[in-house]
Symmetry: C2
Subunit: 140 residues, 2 copies
């Protein structure tokens, strides 16, 4: 599991500790490929009888975001969602306004145009997020 090593290294560099809680959270985050929110994680861990406080979940998620293993995404007005990025190529989302399902897509041309827009505006891009809201096949 390379992501464990990456996180371990990230922590070591910052003189932070490798604790059972951090390990459990990391493993749970990478156990599924879905988008999740902080409370989902808490719930999934609780189901496995792993007790980690809400505060620690948030603290660790922040570390994971800083270490680039996870990124935040926001779907509409709701609270923060996360997805892991390691071994996952960049993509954007189609979000169904009715059932809430999320489709992923990636399109190199859009990325290219974004680069061009940034050049035009003398802007140095760091990241971006594109969500298209609408209705999926079932909900139309």
């Amino acid at each position: 599991m390379e992501n464990i090593e990456l996180f371990h290294k990230f922590l070591a560099e910052k003189k932070m500790k490798w604790t059972p809680e951090r390990k459990a959270i990391l493993e749970e985050v990478f156990a599924s490929h879905d988008h999740f929110e902080a409370d989902d994680l808490l719930f999934r861990l609780k189901k496995k009888d792993i007790r980690v406080s809400r505060a620690t979940i948030y603290r660790t998620l922040e570390l994971l975001v800083n270490s680039q293993l996870v990124r935040k995404i926001s779907f509409g007005e709701e609270h923060t969602h996360y997805e892991h990025t390691y071994g996952h190529k960049h993509h954007d989302h189609l979000v169904c306004l009715k059932c809430g399902s999320v489709l992923e897509f990636s399109n190199p041309t859009i990325e290219e145009i974004q680069e061009r827009v940034c050049t035009d505006y003398d802007f140095t891009p760091d990241s971006h997020c594109l969500q298209i809201f609408g209705y999926c096949t079932k909900c139309r």
Copy 2:
């Protein structure tokens, strides 16, 4: 002021009332072309000695969003921002991670590709939002 009439009509259709508070909020929203958040509005109104409660601000903003005169946008992790849409063509945003400044841009090709992506995924688009985070000329 056509937006006043539009809102008036929207309210009439829903058998809602045209009140001084709603009028004041509408006017203030359209008085500037910047993005704003609920508290900005409250502050701007207070400066003009127009007293409207926070609750009414939120309630009225929701109405404005429903009437399509205003839309919500989210810049990164912060709280909800709004911008008015009437007489404003669709655009996306370049958000500076350091100074928080926001540049607007619009690009027809990106819109086109989005349409195509939606067709490919059998998805009916309703709206979308694209934010590019990075650093502006000054902050680079």
